[in-house]
C-alpha cells in the first residue's frame, strides 16, 4: 500500500514520503477493585508528505479506499504549503541496534493481564483494607513503515506493556496514590513492590502534617521530576528555535544548570516506550545529550526545522500517521547521582517530600515557570516523614531551580518515557494555607 501511494504521488510530479502505522492495542481495566472493561484498538493509517514546486503538502487517511483523494489532497495543500528546505533521506548503510519488542509481550493473553491486575488489587487490599484500587494494563504492538522518493524503505515493530495503579483513600479529603511499571522487557509485574509502595503512602496519609508558608528543603521524588523537566523538553525543541521562542537560543555551550545535571534524549534504550532504530522520517536514531554536567549542548531537530535553522537533523522526528513530523522527545534520561534518600532525609530538619503534582503546564512553560499543586506529598521533620500535607503549592522557575541542585538520587526509576532519580533542592518557596 505504501508503495502504491508513493507511485501515485510521484506520477503527479511530486517527491513524496509515505508513513504508515498499524497498531494493535489492548487495555484491561479494574476500577474500584473490580474488573471494569477490556478494550482493544486496531488502528491503521497513512500519512503522505509531498514536495511539489518546492512547497510541502500533507494529507492523511485511515481509509484504504481513499488513496486517490489522499494524493489529491496532499498535492492541493502543497500549493499553499511552506517552502521546502530539505531533501528526503536515502537509504543509510546501517541502523543502530535497539531492542523494541519481546515475544512474551506480544504473545501475552488478555486473561493473563486480567489475572495480574487482580493479583495487584488483592495484594494492595491485603495491606490496606479500606482502599479502592484502579489498575490498568495496556499492551501496544505496532508496525511502522516509511518509504520515500529518495529510495528509503524502512519498517520496524515495537511492543510495549505498561501497568498503572491508583489507590484511593478517604482520609481528611481524598488521597490518591499512583504507581507505574514498564513491563515491555517481558517479565511479570513486581506485585509485592508496587503494593508495598502504595501501602507506605497510605500509612503516611493517615496522619495530617502541617507546614507553614515559607522556604524549605524539598525532595522531588522521581514521579514528580517530569513536572520540572517538561519546560526543558519544550525549550530544547528545534521548533521553538525556529519560531524564535526558546529561552535557550544562543546559549549552546553555556553552563546553565548545576553540574550534577546530565540530561539526554535516548531512543536507543532497550525496551523504552519510545525506542526505535530510526525516527519518523527514517533517519537513524541516536542518543542526544541535551545538558552535559549543566552545559547546554544543543537542540532536537527533524529535517524541516534543521533546514530552517541551518543545522543537521538529530533523528528526532516524532509523529503518527495523521500529522507531519515535528521534533519531539523520545525517552528522557536524567543520570543518577550519588545521594541515598535516607541520608538526604536525615539532613532535613523541616521540609517537604513530593511524590505527585497536578497543574504542571498551566504557567508560562516556555519561560521555565512552574506552579504546581502537591497532590501527594509528605512533611519531613527531623529526618522523618511525619504525615501528608494538603493545599500545598510550589512555584518557581526550573532554569533557576536546576541551576542549584543540592542532591541527585543514586537510583533511576523507569516511568515510561522518563528515566529519572530523585532531586533535592536546598530552599524552595512553598505556599500553604497554614
Amino acid at each position: 500500500m505504501e508503495e502504491q501511494i508513493l507511485e501515485l504521488a510521484e506520477a503527479r510530479g511530486a517527491k513524496a514520503e509515505v508513513y504508515s502505522s498499524d497498531e494493535n492495542r489492548l487495555t484491561v481495566e479494574f476500577r474500584a477493585n473490580e474488573f471494569h472493561s477490556q478494550e482493544s484498538r486496531l488502528a491503521r493509517g497513512y500519512g503522505l508528505r509531498v514536495v511539489k514546486n518546492g512547497r510541502v503538502g500533507f494529507s492523511s487517511t485511515s481509509d484504504p479506499d481513499k488513496v486517490g483523494e489522499l494524493v489529491q489532497a496532499a498535492v492541493d495543500t502543497s500549493e499553499f504549503g511552506k517552502r521546502c528546505g530539505f531533501e528526503f533521506p536515502g537509504p543509510a548503510s546501517s541502523l543502530p541496534a535497539v531492542k523494541t519488542f519481546d515475544n512474551r509481550v506480544i504473545m501475552l493473553p488478555a486473561i493473563k493481564m486480567i489475572e495480574w491486575a487482580r493479583e495487584l488489587v488483592d495484594a494492595v487490599r491485603a495491606r490496606v483494607p479500606a482502599i479502592k484500587v484502579d489498575v490498568s494494563l495496556t499492551r501496544r504492538y505496532g508496525e511502522r513503515a516509511i518509504v520515500n522518493s529518495a529510495g528509503l524503505r524502512r519498517r520496524f515493530s515495537r511492543a510495549t506493556l505498561e501497568l498503572s495503579a491508583t489507590g484511593l483513600l478517604v482520609s481528611d479529603g481524598l488521597v490518591w496514590m499512583s504507581e507505574y511499571e514498564n513491563l515491555s522487557a517481558g517479565g511479570p509485574p513486581s506485585i509485592g513492590l508496587l503494593a508495598d509502595r502504595i501501602e507506605q503512602k497510605a500509612v503516611l496519609a493517615r496522619t495530617r502534617a502541617r507546614l507553614a508558608t515559607g522556604t524549605y528543603p524539598v525532595v522531588f521524588m522521581p514521579t514528580a521530576v517530569p513536572d520540572l523537566l517538561y519546560p526543558l523538553v519544550t525549550g530544547v525543541n528545534g521548533k521553538q528555535l525556529e519560531k524564535g521562542a526558546s529561552p535557550l537560543i544562543g546559549k549552546v555551550g553555556e553552563k546553565l544548570l548545576d553540574e550534577k545535571i546530565v540530561l539526554a534524549d535516548n531512543a536507543l534504550r532497550d525496551f523504552g516506550i519510545a525506542s526505535a532504530p530510526s525516527d519518523g522520517e527514517g533517519v537513524p536514531r541516536r542518543r542526544n545529550v541535551l545538558f552535559d554536567r549543566g552545559v547546554f549542548t544543543g537542540f532536537l531537530f527533524d529535517l524541516a526545522t534543521a533546514a530552517a535553522c541551518g543545522a543537521r537533523t538529530t533523528g528526532s522526528a516524532a509523529r503518527d500517521y495523521s500529522s507531519p513530523p515535528r521534533p519531539g522527545m523520545s525517552n528522557l534520561e536524567l543520570a543518577p547521582g550519588d545521594a541515598r534518600l535516607e541520608d538526604v532525609l536525615t539532613g532535613i530538619k523541616q521540609g517537604l517530600l513530593v511524590h505527585d503534582c497536578i497543574g504542571g503546564g498551566q504557567s508560562n512553560v516556555l519561560a521555565g515557570d512552574v506552579a504546581v499543586n502537591v497532590s501527594s506529598g509528605f512533611h519531613v521533620g527531623n529526618g522523618k516523614l511525619t504525615g501528608r500535607v494538603k493545599d500545598t503549592m510550589i512555584a518557581g522557575n526550573v532554569y533557576k531551580m536546576l541551576a542549584n541542585v543540592a542532591a541527585v538520587g543514586d537510583v533511576v526509576r523507569d516511568l515510561g518515557r522518563f528515566h529519572v532519580p530523585f532531586l533535592m533542592f536546598e530552599c524552595l518557596k512553598v505556599a500553604t494555607r497554614e
Binding site: F35, H36, Q38, S40, A43, K66, E79, S323, I358
Partner: protein, 457 residues
C-alpha cells in the same frame, strides 16, 4: 457509505450477549495554521473507522477498528466471548425501543464543497488584520473544518445515521513593549457551514486591540473582591466548576459528591438555573442523537437554585434510577462514549450590566478565560483581563486575574443574574479520560458574585 444497516446487522448477528452496538464513522477534516507571516500548517485528513461495544452482566468489552469488512464479525464474537467470561455483576442497561432515523445537514453547510483556496484566503485575511496592527509582534491564526458521518446500530434495533459539521477559527495576537509581552485570543466556531465564519473582522480587530491595551494593564492585587464576570467566564464556570460535577459516571464513583449533588439540595438564589442542552440549533455542542443512540435533550441541572438533575449515559442512568439524558459522547470512533456535556449555560434573568455596576462600590469586572483547573469542588480559573470597578464605574485595566474558590459557596454568592445570555463555541473543546477535544458550547449572562478570592502574581 450509504445504507450500512445490512452489513452492521451481519456483524452483530453472532453476538448473543445482553447488549451490543456498533458505530462506524467517516470524517473529512481540513486544518490551516498561520504563525506570524508564515503558513505553518495546511493539512487534510480522511478518517474511517468504528467501534464495537458489548455489555454482558455488568461488564463491558469494546474494540475499535479501521478496517470495515467482513472480518468484523469475528472481532465482535471475540469481544463478546471475552466479556461473557467475566464474573457476573447484578447490573443491567435498561432498554430503548427500536428506531430508524437519519439526520442530514443542509448541502450549503458542507465544508467539503468549499475550495481550499477560499478557506486559506479567509484565515490569511484575518491573520493579516492582526499583523498590520502596529504593536502586534506575532500572531497565530488557525482554521479548522470537519464533516462527520456516523452510522449506529444496536442489538435493540436502533439504527441511526447522522451527519454533522464543525467549522471554526481562532486568532491570537502577541504584543510586546520591551520585556512586557502580552497576548490575547478569541475563537469562533459552530455546528454550521463555512459561511458562518465570514464577516468576523470586528472580532479580529478587537483581538489586536485588547492585546495592545494589555501592555498598559497593571497586575491585580490579591484579595477578596465583589466581581462581575462576563458571559464567557460565567459560561466557563458553569461548564468547568459545576457541569463536570453533574456527570453521573463521576458521581457514581464518589459517595460524598453524590450527597452534595442530591436532587433538591439548595445552592443558589431562586433565580439561578443551569441547563445542559443538546438541542440548540447551530451551537457547538448540539446533535440529534448521542453516540449510544439516545436522543439529545434539554437537561436542567439547577432549577430555582436547587439541584434538579444529572447528566447520564445509559449505564449511569440505570445505576442512579434516573433517565438517560443523551450525554454519551465519544470524541471519535476510536473511543467508546462516556458521559460528556453538550451546551451548558446559565439562564438569563432580569438585570442589565448597568444595574450590576451600580451595585458594586469597589470590585472587578472580569472578562474571558485562559483556562483553569478543578479538583472536585475547588476551582481556579485564569481570566483574560479585568477592569477595576470604583464607585460603580469601570476604571483601570488589570491583568493576571485568577479566580478561585469552592463551587458550592460561589453559587450561593451569585447575587445578580443578567439579561444578556451569549453562547460560545469556538475551536478546541472539553477533555476527559483522554478524549479531547470534544466540541461543546457554553454560555451565561453577566453575573454579579460577592466576595470572590482573587489571586494575583
Amino acid at each position: 457509505m450509504d445504507n450500512l444497516k445490512p452489513f452492521l446487522t451481519q456483524v452483530l448477528a453472532g453476538v448473543a450477549s445482553q447488549y451490543a452496538d456498533i458505530r462506524v464513522e467517516e470524517s473529512d477534516e481540513t486544518d490551516i495554521v498561520y504563525r506570524g507571516q508564515e503558513l505553518d500548517q495546511v493539512e487534510r485528513s480522511f478518517e474511517r473507522g468504528g467501534c464495537i461495544r458489548v455489555f454482558h452482566q455488568g461488564n463491558w468489552g469494546t474494540a475499535s477498528f479501521n478496517q470495515v469488512d467482513e472480518k468484523l464479525e469475528g472481532l465482535a464474537r471475540d469481544v463478546a466471548s471475552a466479556v461473557e467470561a467475566m464474573p457476573a455483576k447484578p447490573e443491567t442497561l435498561g432498554s430503548l425501543p427500536a428506531l430508524t432515523d437519519s439526520v442530514t445537514i443542509p448541502e450549503a453547510d458542507d465544508p467539503r464543497k468549499v475550495p481550499l483556496e477560499d478557506k486559506h484566503a479567509l484565515i490569511k485575511h484575518y491573520n493579516d488584520i492582526l499583523l498590520k496592527t502596529p504593536g502586534v509582534t506575532t500572531t497565530m491564526s488557525a482554521y479548522e473544518d470537519k464533516f462527520r458521518r456516523s452510522s449506529f446500530l444496536s442489538s435493540e434495533g436502533r439504527f441511526i445515521t447522522q451527519d454533522s459539521v464543525y467549522t471554526g477559527f481562532v486568532c491570537r495576537a502577541v504584543a510586546r513593549d520591551g520585556t512586557n509581552v502580552q497576548d490575547y485570543h478569541d475563537t469562533f466556531g459552530k455546528t454550521a457551514g463555512f459561511s458562518s465564519l465570514l464577516n468576523r473582522e470586528v472580532m479580529v480587530e478587537r483581538i489586536a486591540k485588547v492585546a495592545l491595551d494589555l501592555l498598559k494593564a497593571e497586575p491585580v492585587t490579591a484579595g477578596r473582591y465583589d466581581v462581575i464576570i462576563d458571559q464567557e467566564l460565567a459560561g466557563v464556570f458553569a461548564h468547568e466548576a459545576f457541569g463536570h460535577l453533574s456527570e453521573a459516571d463521576f458521581l457514581a464513583a464518589n459517595e460524598r459528591l453524590r450527597e452534595l449533588m442530591k436532587v433538591g439540595n439548595k445552592y443558589g438564589v431562586d433565580e439561578l438555573s443551569i441547563v445542559d442542552d443538546g438541542t440548540m440549533p447551530g451551537e457547538r455542542g448540539s446533535f440529534r442523537y448521542d453516540d449510544e443512540g439516545s436522543a439529545a435533550e434539554r437537561t436542567e441541572l439547577i432549577k430555582e437554585g436547587r439541584i434538579a438533575g444529572h447528566l447520564h449515559d445509559r449505564q449511569s442512568a440505570q445505576r442512579m434510577s434516573e433517565r438517560p439524558t443523551g450525554n454519551a459522547r465519544a470524541v471519535s470512533y476510536r473511543f467508546a462514549p462516556i458521559v460528556r456535556m453538550r451546551n451548558t449555560f446559565i439562564e438569563p434573568r432580569g438585570y442589565n450590566i448597568e444595574d450590576m455596576l451600580d451595585s458594586v462600590e469597589n470590585g472587578l469586572y472580569v472578562c474571558g478565560s485562559r483556562g483553569g483547573m478543578t479538583e472536585l469542588e475547588s476551582f481556579t480559573f485564569s481570566s483574560q483581563y479585568a477592569r477595576l470597578i470604583e464607585h460603580g464605574r469601570q476604571t483601570k485595566l488589570m491583568r493576571d486575574v485568577i479566580l478561585s474558590g469552592n463551587v458550592f459557596e460561589t453559587l450561593k454568592n451569585i447575587k445578580m443574574i443578567g439579561d444578556d445570555l451569549v453562547m460560545f463555541g469556538g475551536l478546541g473543546g472539553c477533555g476527559k479520560n483522554g478524549q479531547a477535544p470534544l466540541p461543546v458550547g457554553l454560555g451565561a449572562p453577566h453575573l454579579l458574585i460577592r466576595n470572590v478570592v482573587i489571586g494575583g502574581k
